[in-house]
C-alpha cells in the first residue's frame, strides 16, 4: 500500500499513457490490438486501487481517528503574493477511505468494461479511438476522485465531461449522436458554470481552494475553515451561496432535474460507454462532490432541503418516464437518473454513507444491465425496442440469467445488493420526513415494476427475435450493428464478454455485504465504519452535531459514527422488500401473463400515458424556455455584432487605410530628393517645436 500512496500519480498516469499509445499508434500500428495499452494501463491502475483499498481496510484504526494520506505530485498553479493572497492549486492526491472506495469502483469496473469492450467493439471503425477515449476518461475520473483541491476536482470534472462528449459522439456520422453529444456538453456547461462560480466564491471566502490544506487539523484547507466558520472578513454572506453554486454543477453532471435532459440522449454512444460513464462512474461525480465537500453543505439546511427535494423529485419523475419507455437503454437511462436521485436524497438526509453504498451497488448492477443490453443489441442486430422482441431466453441463456440478476438487484429484491443500499436511503429519508420516505418507497415500487416489465418483455414469453433475417439496423444503432452483428450471429455470448458480466453479476448479488445492518461474517456497517475515518465524513459529522444537536441513530450511521444501539430494525427492510415484490408481481401480471391487459390499461389512462410518453414535455419546455430565448438573444447579439461592432471595426479598418492612402500618395513617391527634403523639413519642424 505504501508503494501505491508514494506513487499515487501512477493511477491517473498509466491510463493516460495507455490512451496516448492507443491514440497515437492506434490508427497505423496497433489497429485491432489497440485495446492492449488500455488494458495494461487501466488494469495496473485497478490493481493499485485494489491494493490501496485492501491496505486501508486492514490498517489498524482507533475509533475517532481520521485516516488519510497526502501525496504532493508537483506545484501546478501558483499565483499572487502575500499582499493579494496566494492562489495555490497543487497537483496532488488526497487519499482517504472515500477516495479508496471511489478509485476501486472507477478502476475496477472501468477495467471490466474495457475487457468487455474488446469483444463488443470488435471490427468498428475507429476502434483505437474508442479505447483512447476510454483510457483518457479513466485517467480524468481518477484525477477527479483523487485531487486534493477544487481545481484538481474541476480538472477531472471537465476531463470526464470532454470524454463523455467524445464518446457520445463516437458515431459522429449519425446526426442523432452528434446532437446528443452537443446536448450533453451544453447542458453540462450550465452546471459547470455554477461549479466554477462556486470555486471562485470558495477562494474569495476562504482564500484557498485546497480541501484540507496541509492536512486536517492544520486549519489551512477551506473545509476546516468552514467547519470553524473562519471566512475572510466581509465575505461571510457569500459562504451561504457556495453550496448552491456547487450543487448546480453536481446536478448537471449527475443529471438531476432540470439538467437531466442530456442523459437519456447520451445513450447514442456505444453501450460500454453508457455502462461505464453514464451509469457507473461519471454521473456519480456529483454525489462524490457533495459527499467530499459535506462540511460546506451539512450546516446549510436550505441547501440540504433543496438537494432532498430535487433528488426525490428527480427519482420519482424519472421512474415514471421509465415506465413507458420501450428502448432498453432508455429505460436504464431514466432508471439511472432516478437512482442518482436516490443518492442525492441519501446525501441530503445526512446519510452520505448510504449514498456512497448505493453508488457502489448501483455501479455493479447498472453496468451489468447496460452491458447485458449490449449483448442483446448484438444478438438482435442493433435492435433495442422491447416491443419488437420477446422470449430471448433461448437464444441468450447466459445473458438472460445475468440480466435477471441485474434486474433483481436494481428492483431491490431482498438480499441482493440493491435491496440493502436502497433500503438504507429510504429508511434514512423516512427518519427525516415521512413524506420523503413514502415518495422514495413508491419510487422503489415503480423501479421494480419498470425493471421487470423490461425483463419479462425481452426474455420471457413467446420467442420473437428481430434482425434475425439480417435486414437490421434501419433506425437505432445503425452503425453500431454492422461489424459486431455479423460476428455475433456465430456466438452472441463470447467468453471475453461473459466473463466481465459474470464478475459484475457477483458484485450485484453480494455487494450488499459491505454494509449490512448486522454482523454476518463481516462487521455490521463495515462501509460506514471505514468511511467514518475519512476527514470529509468526520468533519461533516461535527458540523451536523453542532447544527442539529444530538444525532439520531440513523444520522450517526449515515455520517459514519458508531450507532448507539445495535438493534436491527426489521420493519423498514420488510417494507422495502415488499415494495420490490409488489412491483415485480405487477410486472409479471401485466407483461408476462397478460400483455394485452397492459395495453388496455395504458389505453384507459390515455392522458397519463401521453404525458409519460412525451416525457413530461421537458425537452419541449427546454426548447421554449431556454433554447428559443437563447436563440433570440443570440440573434440580438448577432445584430449588435454585425451592425455596431462590425461597423466600428469596419471604421477601424477603413480609417487607417484612408490615412495610409493619403500618406502613400503624398510621401511615398520614390523620389530621393523628396525623401531628403521631407526628412529635413521634419527635422526643422521638430526643432521649431522644441525651441519655441
Amino acid at each position: 500500500m505504501n508503494f501505491v500512496i508514494e506513487h499515487s500519480y501512477l493511477i491517473p498516469l498509466l491510463p493516460l499513457l495507455g490512451a496516448l499509445a492507443a491514440g497515437l499508434l492506434g490508427a497505423k500500428v496497433l489497429k485491432h490490438n489497440s485495446h492492449w495499452p488500455i488494458w495494461i494501463g487501466v488494469g495496473a491502475s485497478a490493481l493499485m486501487a485494489i491494493v490501496l483499498l485492501v491496505g486501508m481496510l486492514t490498517e489498524h484504526h482507533e475509533p475517532g481517528r481520521m485516516m488519510y494520506f497526502m501525496s504532493h505530485w508537483f506545484d501546478w498553479i501558483v499565483a499572487g503574493d502575500e499582499k493579494t493572497g496566494i492562489f495555490n492549486a497543487a497537483a496532488g492526491a488526497f487519499i482517504d477511505p472515500l477516495t479508496a472506495v471511489m478509485l476501486a469502483v472507477v478502476c475496477g469496473i472501468g477495467f471490466l468494461i474495457t475487457v468487455f469492450s474488446k469483444g463488443y467493439m470488435h471490427g468498428e471503425s475507429g476502434y483505437f479511438r474508442f479505447f483512447a477515449y476510454l483510457g483518457l476518461f479513466i485517467s480524468a475520473m481518477t484525477i477527479l476522485v483523487m485531487g486534493d483541491n477544487l481545481i484538481m476536482l474541476y480538472l477531472g470534472w471537465e476531463g470526464v465531461g470532454l470524454c463523455s462528449y467524445l464518446l457520445i459522439g463516437y458515431y459522429y456520422e449519425k446526426p442523432a449522436a452528434r446532437e446528443a453529444a452537443k446536448k450533453a456538453f451544453i447542458v453540462n456547461r450550465i452546471g459547470d458554470f455554477g461549479f466554477a462560480l462556486g470555486i471562485l466564491l470558495t477562494f474569495y471566502c476562504f482564500g484557498t481552494v485546497s480541501f484540507f490544506g496541509t492536512g486536517p487539523g492544520s486549519n489551512t484547507g477551506f473545509l476546516e475553515k468552514a467547519l470553524h466558520g473562519i471566512a475572510n472578513p466581509g465575505t461571510e454572506v457569500y459562504v451561504f451561496w457556495i453550496p448552491f453554486c456547487l450543487m448546480l454543477g453536481a446536478f448537471g453532471k449527475s443529471a438531476q432535474f432540470p439538467l437531466s435532459v442530456w442523459l437519456p440522449d447520451a445513450m447514442e454512444g456505444p453501450t460500454p460507454v453508457s455502462a461505464l460513464i453514464h451509469a457507473a462512474t461519471m454521473v456519480t461525480a456529483g454525489v462524490y462532490m457533495i459527499v467530499r465537500l459535506g462540511t460546506l453543505f451539512v450546516g446549510n439546511s436550505n441547501a440540504m432541503i433543496t438537494i432532498a427535494v430535487i433528488g426525490a423529485f428527480t427519482a420519482i419523475w424519472a421512474a415514471t418516464i421509465a415506465l413507458r419507455q420501450s428502448d432498453l437503454k432508455k429505460v436504464f437511462a431514466y432508471s439511472t437518473v432516478s437512482q442518482l436521485g436516490f443518492m442525492f436524497v441519501g446525501v441530503a438526509v445526512l446519510a452520505p454513507v448510504a449514498a456512497v453504498f448505493h453508488l457502489i451497488t448501483h455501479a455493479f448492477f447498472k453496468a451489468l444491465l447496460f452491458l447485458s443490453s449490449g449483448v442483446v443489441m448484438h444478438a438482435t442486430g442493433g435492435e433495442l425496442d422491447m416491443c419488437k422482441m420477446s422470449g430471448l431466453k433461448r437464444r441468450l441463456p447466459k445473458t438472460r440469467i445475468l440480466m435477471l440478476i441485474g434486474c433483481l438487484a436494481l428492483s431491490g429484491f431482498p438480499l441482493l445488493s440493491g435491496f440493502w443500499s436502497k433500503d438504507e436511503i429510504v429508511h434514512a429519508a423516512g427518519g427525516k420526513s415521512l413524506v420523503l420516505g413514502a415518495v422514495m418507497l413508491f419510487t422503489s415500487l415503480l423501479t421494480a415494476y419498470y425493471t421487470f416489465r423490461l425483463y419479462f418483455r425481452v426474455f420471457e414469453g413467446p420467442e420473437k427475435i428481430p434482425g434475425g433475417d439480417h435486414h437490421h439496423g434501419l433506425s437505432q444503432g445503425d452503425s453500431e450493428s454492422h461489424g459486431p452483428a455479423a460476428q455475433a450471429h456465430h456466438n452472441p455470448e463470447p467468453l471475453s464478454m461473459m466473463l466481465p458480466l459474470a464478475i459484475l453479476a457477483i458484485g450485484a448479488v453480494f455487494a450488499g455485504v459491505i454494509n449490512l445492518p448486522f454482523a454476518a461474517g463481516v462487521r455490521e456497517h463495515a462501509l460506514g465504519h471505514f468511511l467514518q475515518q475519512s476527514p470529509s465524513f468526520a468533519m461533516a459529522a461535527r458540523v451536523a452535531t453542532a447544527k442539529y444537536g444530538t444525532l439520531t441513530d440513523t444520522d450517526k450511521l449515515g455520517l459514519g459514527q458508531e450507532p448507539t444501539s445495535h438493534v436491527v430494525e426489521v420493519a423498514p427492510l420488510v417494507i422495502g422488500g415488499g415494495a420490490a415484490l409488489i412491483g415485480i408481481a405487477l410486472a409479471f401480471v401485466l407483461h408476462l401473463q397478460n400483455r394485452a391487459k397492459a395495453d388496455e390499461l395504458a389505453g384507459r389512462f390515455g392522458s397519463v400515458t401521453r404525458v409519460l410518453d412525451a416525457k413530461y414535455w421537458v425537452d419541449e419546455i427546454y426548447q421554449a424556455l431556454i433554447v428559443e430565448p437563447a436563440r433570440a438573444l443570440g440573434r440580438l447579439f448577432w445584430w449588435f455584432d454585425r451592425v455596431i461592432v462590425g461597423g466600428a471595426s469596419f471604421m477601424i479598418g477603413v480609417i487607417p487605410q484612408i490615412g495610409g492612402a493619403a500618406l502613400k500618395f503624398s510621401t511615398q513617391r520614390g523620389y530621393l530628393q523628396g525623401y531628403a527634403v521631407s526628412m529635413l523639413a521634419c527635422l526643422v519642424l521638430i526643432l521649431l517645436w522644441m525651441f519655441m
Binding site: Y675, A676, I686
Partner: protein
Amino acid sequence: MNVTQLIIPELTLLAAAALLFLMGGSNAPKTRLLAPVVALLAMVGALVASLIGQRTGVRMDDTGSLAVTALSVYIKSISIGVGALFVLLAWPTSRDGASNRSISFSTETSEYFALLLLAITGMCVVASANSLPTLFLGIELASIPTYIMVTMSRPHQQAQEAGVKYFFLGALSAAMMLLGMSYLFGVTGEMRLDHIIDVLRRPADGPGIGGSLLMLAVLLMMMSFLFKLAAVPLHFYAGDVYQGAATPVTAAISFIPKIAGMTALIKLLYVAGAGTWALDPKLMKLVWIIAVLTMTVGNVLGLLQYNVKRVLAYSSIAHSGYLLVGLATLVHVKAPEQRGDALAAIAFYMLAYGVMNVAVFGVLMLLPAKVPAPARTAETYDDLAGAGWRHPVLGVVMALGCFSLIGIPATAGFFGKLYLLKPAIQSGNTALVWLAVLTMINAAISAGYYLKIVTAMWSKSDGAGTEAIRDTAHDSAYDLGHQAPATERSVPVLAAIALSAAGILAAGIVFPLTGAIYRAAASATAWLADGPR
C-alpha cells in the same frame, strides 16, 4: 585595460572579414562556396568569445573610448547570434556558389559575407562605444556595408536604385549625427560619454549647461539614430530600399541598423539625462510622439501594400515604434525598477524581433515567385497564394512568424509586447497608459496585414484563382502542366527557419525559458536603470 582584450569578438569578425576579402580575389567556385562557412565559423567564434568575455562591471580600455558593459555583451551576443542566421539565409546554393534563388552575388560571394561580418562588427562597436568618435565609427561601420549589400544583391534596376537612395539618405543622416556630436563636444568639451555625464552633472554649470545648444546637439544625434531605426519622420527610405534589396539583405537591414540605432539612442538619452534619466519634459514628449507616429504610420502604410516585402518594411517601421514605446516608457517612469523593466523589455524585444523576422523572411526566400526572374523569390501576395497547401511546414512557420509579429499568445512576440507594456501600465502615468492603449490598437491594425499574409498562404486558390490547390495537390500532372517553379530546398535556410520557429515557440510556451531570457535582458540593462553608477 588593453584594448585587444576588450574587442576579441570584434577582432574575430574583422579577421574573418579580411580573410574573406582576400578570398574574393580568387574566382574559383570552391572559394565562393567556402565563404559562408568561414563567415559562419567566425560568427560562432565571436559569439563564444563574447559570451566568455562576460564580466560584471565596466571594463574600459586605456583611452576610454570603449567600455564593455553587461549591456554591450548582451547586444553583441544577440547581434552575432542573429547575424549567424543571416549567414544561413544568404547561403549560396548554386553549384558555382554565385547565388541562391533570392540573391545573386555574381562573383562577389566572399565580399558579400565580408560586408555582412563588417556590419555586425559595427553593431558590436556601437554596443561598447564610450566616446563620440567610436560611436560614430560604429554606426557607420554598421551602415556602410549594408548600402553595398543592397546594391550588389541582385542584378535589378530596383536594387541599384534602392542602394543609391539608401546611401544618400544615410549620408545625410551621418551628417546630422556629426553635426550633433560637434555641438555636444563644443558644449561639454568632452569626447568620452562618461566624461560628458560628469560635466553635465557638475553642480556649477549643471544640466543647464549649454542650454539650447545641448538640446540641439541631442536632437540632431537623435534624428540620425532614428533614421537607422527607420522611425517617423525619417522612415521614407524604408519601403523602397527593403523592396529593392534581395530578400536575405532585406532581412539583414531590417535588423542590423535598427539594433545599432536603438542601442545608440539609449546611450544618448542616458548621457543627455546626465546618467539619471532627468530629461527635458519636452524631449520626453517628443519621444512619446515619435513612438506613436512610428508604429501608427508603419502599420497604416502596411495595410495598403501588395508587395509582401514592402509590407514587411512597414512592419519593421512599426516594430521600431514598439521599441520606441519601450524607450518612451523608459524616459517617463520615475522609479528605477520600472526603468529597469522598460530597459529589459527593450532588450528582450530586440532579440524576439530579430528571430521572428528571420522566420518570415526565410519562408519568403524558399517560395518561388510566380513570374520567374533572377534572384527573385516570393514577394507578392500572389506569389504566396496557396503556398501553405503545397508546403505545409513553410505555411505553418509563416503563420507562426506572423502571429508572433502581431503578438498573439504562445509566441515570443506576445511576451515581447507584454513586457513592453507592463511597466507602462504599472507606472500609472496617464501618458504611458495611453501609449499602451495605442500600442494595442496598433497591434490590432497590424493584424490586418499579417493575417492577410497567412490567409494568402492558406487560400485555396493558386493565385490565378482557377484551380483549387487541395484537389490537385496529389495530381502530379499539376506540376508539369503549370510549370510552377519548385520550391528551393536549401538546407541552411531551412535550418535558419527551423531555429527561429523553435525560438518563437519555445519563448512563447516554455515559460521558464522566457523568464530566463528576460532575466538575462534585465541583468544586462540593470546598471543603466539605477542612475548614477
